[in-house]
């Protein structure tokens, strides 16, 4: 179990402080695009942190987490669409553009789907789990491609961001940024508590020796499913934020590449660290920005970096900086 030490605390607060002062600095330097870019990064970091709960602590290697992200985003997008078009959505309800309603719904939808996928895929393990989560994510991908009414393959353009309690404060890039940062901090704090709690200990126990847990009287399926659903719901929240950030929702959000990149963020940052994925997301986005300046073929570099990281850099960035190795 991760024991907090001074360096870890410093690294956690450090990255959060960096993210907190980023918008004023970027605007002072006349680099508004930095805020947009960092905001995207925040959203993906949130999803990656959620993924770390199942992948890092429970060793449930979900290759389909982008599906939760996409479901969250589509929930917000579709409710917005009906609200703007003033067309009935369900039972005469004409959707909503209210964040306080749409975001929890986004989490609920993602959680519901996670329950379904988890119930099937958690009956197996290991490599089956990887392929099944991937396949089901692909199924949701095709589901949204088929929804011509909501843009199909081309995605759904939003005409504005969500309102919050009737106000349009999210219209400001900076406000949206801090809302996303707030969500990230809250989720991070919550998950840190979760992994240290009784529930978290069960999840870790299941990872280390599921058979032993059963002999002690636990039903691993129930706890793993709960963790999976929790993680899915939080990824759904990230999706709701992503929809607001992009003002656009597309099946690409739930493509298999997107799922893969979330896994990469977790690994690069540090598996089973929760803070690590934030570093991972930061690194990946920064790497892309820097490399793209030199070559459009930046993934030619990313690929080998990834292979080397897997082979020789097991603890990820965070593990390396804290001097701790995990897994």
């Amino acid at each position: 179990m991760p024991e907090t030490n001074k360096r870890a605390t410093f690294l956690t607060l450090g990255v959060l402080a960096f993210l907190a002062i980023l918008p004023p600095v970027a605007l002072a330097l006349d680099r508004p695009y930095m805020v947009t870019l960092a905001n995207r990064m925040l959203v993906y970091a949130l999803a990656a942190v959620a993924l770390d709960l199942v992948m890092g602590y429970g060793r449930m290697v979900s290759f389909g987490h982008a599906a939760f992200l996409g479901l969250g985003a589509y929930t917000v997008g579709i409710l917005h669409h009906h609200d703007v078009m003033m067309t009935p959505f369900l039972f005469g309800w004409a959707g909503s553009n209210e964040a306080l309603l749409a975001w929890p719904l986004a989490m609920l939808v993602a959680a519901g789907y996670a329950l379904l996928v988890g119930a099937i895929s958690l009956r197996t393990g290991g490599v089956y789990f990887i392929m099944i989560t991937l396949a089901f994510a692909q199924m949701v991908f095709f589901f949204f491609v088929s929804l011509i009414a909501y843009g199909g393959r081309d995605g759904l353009v939003m005409f504005s961001r969500n309102s919050v309690a009737g106000t349009d404060i999210l219209g400001s890039r900076v406000v949206l940024y801090y809302v996303c940062l707030g969500c990230l901090v809250a989720v991070l704090a919550f998950l840190v508590m979760v992994v240290r709690s009784r529930f978290g200990r069960i999840i870790e126990g299941c990872r280390q020796n599921e058979q032993r847990m059963r002999a002690l009287g636990y039903k691993p399926f129930v706890y793993k499913l709960t963790a999976f659903v929790l993680s899915g719901a939080l990824a759904g929240l990230a999706g709701a934020l992503l929809a607001n950030h992009s003002e656009f929702v597309s099946p690409d959000f739930l493509s298999w590449e997107s799922s893969g990149l979330l896994m990469v963020m977790v690994l690069l940052g540090g598996l089973s660290t929760l803070v690590g994925p934030i570093y991972g997301a930061l690194t990946l986005f920064a790497l892309e920005e820097v490399l793209v300046a030199y070559t459009p073929h930046w993934q030619l570099v990313l690929g080998p970096v990834l292979i080397l990281a897997v082979l020789f850099f097991k603890g990820g960035l965070y593990g390396w900086m804290t001097g701790k190795r995990t897994g």
Binding site: M55, T124, F142, S146, L300, A309
Partner: protein, 304 residues
């Protein structure tokens, strides 16, 4: 009815391509316990090299040889440099490392061959149709794909079930130490098995190339379908791969034809076709879900 038979053949032809992919992937998993996402990249490399050889020589047979050899060599090089270090690692590590390979190869082929898809001509000596049943003319090339695929699979079964190498392979799957004690070089054996799987992927790539755009990222679509095939069939089982591939190929093709027709009973063509086509792409996943709900480990056990 004739229309149905023709579509059934189309389904078999997709199934055979999937089978060539799935047999290699499932062999590698069954023996080395490696999940290899880069298998799709090997498919792509086969297709690209095949298309290039074809463009320079005009010979489809040379293209086949070139594509298969290139995939095999790249596969063995990957095995030797990276993958053999991952056999005893977690699946998570294997997934991420081979995901890195996908990113690398997709960019590499774009640099080497450009960003436009290459077109491959059907070899002229296969550009005719065969009247398989009165009234059903079917392109010879597609029949050839089915025939070659079936031949290769039969050969593979023979290799594994009837030969000495096959015995080592089967033994290697269960007891690594013992096979080492028999004086067989296990590292070499693994490299060769991986090379064999890579060659099958390359073969699938070259044979499918006249039927699809040869472009970066072409391997991943087929890879995910292949995953569905082996999840349905049972990971590590060749027999399962055969059943799964036929099931997925036929379900996908028939779904693509009949779902839109079904939907047209209620909706306009554009909506019906989109909903139908996408439901068709969803069908195979639904089939997978049903199979897993009944048999969580797939239809067949490994090495059955």
């Amino acid at each position: 009815m004739l229309f149905f038979i023709e579509q059934l053949l189309n389904g078999f032809q997709l199934g055979v391509t999937l089978l060539l992919m799935a047999s290699g992937l499932t062999l590698i998993f069954g023996i080395m316990h490696l999940i290899n996402l880069a298998h799709g990249s090997l498919f792509m490399i086969g297709a690209f090299v095949g298309a290039t050889v074809m463009a320079y020589t005009g010979s489809f047979l040379l293209a086949l040889a070139g594509g298969v050899a290139a995939s095999g060599l790249v596969g063995m090089a990957l095995e030797y440099t990276v993958l053999r270090r991952l056999y005893y690692r977690e699946h998570l590590d294997q997934v991420l490392a081979t995901f890195g390979m996908i990113l690398f190869f997709n960019e590499l082929v774009q640099i080497v061959w450009g960003r436009r898809p290459l077109g491959v001509d059907t070899p002229s000596w296969l550009s005719f149709t065969v009247e398989i049943l009165p009234g059903v003319a079917y392109p010879a090339h597609r029949l050839a794909v089915i025939a070659v695929g079936l031949l290769v699979i039969v050969g593979l079964f023979f290799l594994i079930m009837r030969t000495r190498v096959g015995m080592w392979i089967r033994a290697g799957a269960s007891i690594r130490e013992m096979i080492g004690a028999l004086g067989v070089n296990i590292n070499l054996l693994y490299t060769l098995v991986f090379g064999l799987g890579a060659c099958l992927a390359g073969l699938a790539g070259v044979m499918a190339s006249p039927l699809m755009s040869v472009q970066a990222g072409m391997g991943e679509n087929i890879l995910i379908l292949t995953f569905v095939v082996i999840v349905i069939g049972g990971i590590g089982s060749l027999r399962g791969a055969v059943v799964g591939a036929v099931l997925v190929g036929v379900a996908d093709t028939l779904g693509r034809v009949y779902f839109p027709a079904l939907f047209r009973l209620w909706a306009d063509p554009a909506t019906a076709d989109a909903a139908g086509a996408s439901l068709a792409s969803m069908t195979i996943y639904l089939v997978m879900a049903v199979v897993l709900a009944v048999r969580p480990q797939g239809l067949f056990r490994a090495h059955a």
